[in-house]
C-alpha cells in the first residue's frame, strides 16, 4: 500500500466519523517523503516544529508518526499559523480565581451566619432542657434549683466582675416545695470502656447518700456496656446508697447501704460510674459541708443552666481538673 492510499483512507474515514474533519488540509504537513519502512506504526516523516515542543534538539528528531488508516488525529499547527488547530485553553487570571473563591467564601459565610442565628437558640434551649430534666431526675423532683460555681476553692453563687463562667465547675443545689434543701446535682465524666462516660447524680451531704444517677452521654458497646442507660435495675441501684459506693457482683449483696450491684458483661462501664461518683464526691465534700442553703425566692425563676458546661455533651470542660486526677 502506498502512502498516498494510506492518506486517502485516513481522510475518508476520519472525515466521515467526525464532523470537524479529522485531517488537516495543509498538505505540507503530510507529504510523504518515502517513509513506510520498519517502524511498525506507519511511515516516519519530518514535519515542521510543533508549537510547544522543546526548542532544543537536532532537527531530525522532530518527527511524528503519520496516522494509520482510519486513525483520527487532531491537526498539528506549525508556528505562526493562525486559525487552525486545537483551540487554546484560556488561562484564567489569578485575580479572577482569588475573586471567585473570596466571593464564594463570603456568600457561604453570610448564609451560615443566618443559619447559626436561627439554630443556636434552639440548640441551647434543648441542651438546657436536657440538663434541667436530668437535675430533676437525679434529685427526685426538686421544686427549684440554683447554679453554684466552684471558684478558687469556694462555692459562689455570683462570680466576681469580669470572671467568665465558661470552664468553671458547677453544682446545682435543689430545694423542695417548702424551700428545704434536697441535695446537690453534680455532673462529671470519666473514661469508661470506649470513651468518656458523662454522668449526673444527686447527692445529699446531710445523710451522705447518693439520690440518683443518670448517664448523660456515653459511647459504650451496644448490647453490652450500654446497660448503663438501659438497665433500669442498675440505674435504680443508685437511689439512696451511702457514700462511698462499693460496686459488687450482682446477687452477692449483704444489705450494706454502700453496695451497688454491677451488671455482668458491663463490669467496666458500671464500675466507672461508681468510681466517678466516689471521686467526685470526695473532691467536693469539703466544699459542700460549708454550703449556705438559701432557697431562691420562687418568684425568681431558676437560672437556666449554661449547657455548654456541666457535661451535657462534649467534654464537660468544667470537670477537666478532676478528670485528670481520676485518670
Amino acid at each position: 500500500m502506498s502512502d498516498d492510499i494510506r492518506k486517502k483512507d485516513a481522510v475518508g474515514e476520519g472525515g466521515g466519523e467526525d464532523g470537524r474533519g479529522g485531517m488537516p488540509e495543509d498538505h505540507d504537513l503530510y507529504t510523504p517523503q518515502g517513509g513506510g519502512g520498519g517502524t511498525g506504526s506507519g511511515p516516519i516523516q519530518e514535519v515542521a516544529a510543533v508549537r510547544g515542543a522543546p526548542e532544543a534538539g537536532p532537527k531530525e528528531d522532530q518527527r511524528v508518526d503519520v496516522p494509520r488508516p482510519g486513525e483520527v488525529r487532531l491537526p498539528q499547527v506549525a508556528p505562526g499559523q493562525p486559525g487552525a488547530g486545537v483551540p487554546e485553553v484560556k488561562e484564567t487570571s489569578i485575580l479572577r480565581m482569588i475573586l471567585t473563591l473570596a466571593t464564594a467564601g463570603a456568600m457561604a459565610g453570610a448564609v451560615l451566619v443566618f443559619v447559626f442565628l436561627w439554630s443556636q437558640p434552639r440548640i441551647l434551649a434543648y441542651q438546657a432542657k436536657v440538663l434541667a430534666e436530668s437535675i430533676g431526675e437525679v434529685l427526685k423532683g426538686p421544686e427549684i434549683y440554683e447554679t453554684v460555681y466552684v471558684y478558687q476553692g469556694q462555692l459562689v453563687r455570683e462570680l466576681p466582675e469580669g470572671v467568665s463562667p465558661a470552664g468553671l465547675d458547677r453544682i446545682y443545689p435543689g430545694y423542695d416545695v417548702d424551700g428545704r434543701p434536697m441535695g446537690f446535682a453534680v455532673s462529671g465524666a470519666k473514661a469508661g470502656y470506649m470513651d468518656l462516660i458523662h454522668v449526673i447524680f444527686g447527692y445529699d451531704p446531710s445523710s451522705q447518700e447518693v439520690l440518683g444517677m443518670k448517664v448523660l452521654d456515653h459511647k459504650e458497646t451496644p448490647g453490652l456496656g450500654d446497660v448503663i442507660v438501659k438497665d433500669e435495675g442498675f440505674i435504680g441501684g443508685f437511689v439512696r446508697v451511702r457514700w462511698p459506693l462499693r460496686g459488687i457482683k450482682a446477687g452477692t449483696g449483704t444489705g450494706d447501704p454502700h453496695e451497688v450491684d454491677l451488671v455482668t458483661g458491663a463490669t467496666i462501664s458500671c464500675r466507672t460510674i461508681v468510681e466517678l461518683i466516689n471521686l467526685r464526691i470526695e473532691a467536693l465534700e469539703p466544699l459542700l459541708e460549708g454550703f449556705q442553703w438559701v432557697a431562691p425566692s420562687p418568684e425568681v425563676p431558676a437560672e437556666v443552666p449554661d449547657p455548654s458546661i456541666g457535661g451535657v455533651a462534649g467534654e464537660a470542660p468544667g470537670n477537666g481538673d478532676w478528670k485528670e486526677e481520676a485518670a
Binding site: S119, T221, G223
Partner: protein, 222 residues
Amino acid sequence: MRQTTAQYDLVRGIWKENPVLVHLLGLCPALAVTNTVENAIAMGLATFFVLTGSSILISLFKDLIPREVRIPTFILIIASFVTIVDMVLAAVVPEIHKALGAFIALIVVNCMILGRQEAFASKRPVGRAILDAFGTGTGFMIAMVLMGAFREILGMGTFLGVPLFGDSFEPWVIMILPPGGFFALGFILLWLSWWRKRKAPVAEVRQWPHGVRVSTAREEAA
C-alpha cells in the same frame, strides 16, 4: 460528552449506577452509621439534601467558576451545605444529630457528592443536575436503608425499633458493631453480583472455526 436522556439521568443513580453498591463511593457513612435503619435514613436524607443543594448551585454557577479553582469552590459549596445540615439537625432533631455524631461533618468529603459535581453538575444544565442529584441521592438512601435493615434486624431483632422475632431471639451484637458494617456490605455485594450474573446474557460460540459469534439470550428470544 456522553448524551443522555433526562429519564436516564434520573434513574441511573438509583440502581444501575448506585453510588454505594456499584461505584463503591461514600462507603465511610455507609459502614459507620448504618447500625440502625433510623440512623441510615437520617444520614441518607442529610446526604440527599447536601447533594441536591450543591448540584443546583454548582450547575447554576458553572460558567462563573474558573476551571483552575473549581474543586476548592465545589468543596466550599458542599461544606456550606453540610454545616447548614449540621446546625439544622442539631436544632430540630437533637437525638439523631447526636447519634450521627462526627459523620455529619464528614459528608463534606463524601466522594460521591464531589464526584457528581465534577462529573455531572459542573457540565450540565440545572434541570439535569437536579434529576441526577435526585437519582443518586435516592440510590444512596436505598443502599443505606439496605445496610441499616440488614444490621438492625440481625443485630437487634428490630426494624425501625419494632421487635420482629419476639423474646427468644438472640441478637447478633456484632452486626451493630463496626465489623457488622463490613459483613453487611460484603454480603449485600455478594448477593448483588450473584444476581447480576444470573441476569447476564448467555454467551454462545457458533460457526466455529469461521468466526466466533456471541449471541445474547435476548437476541435468541427476539
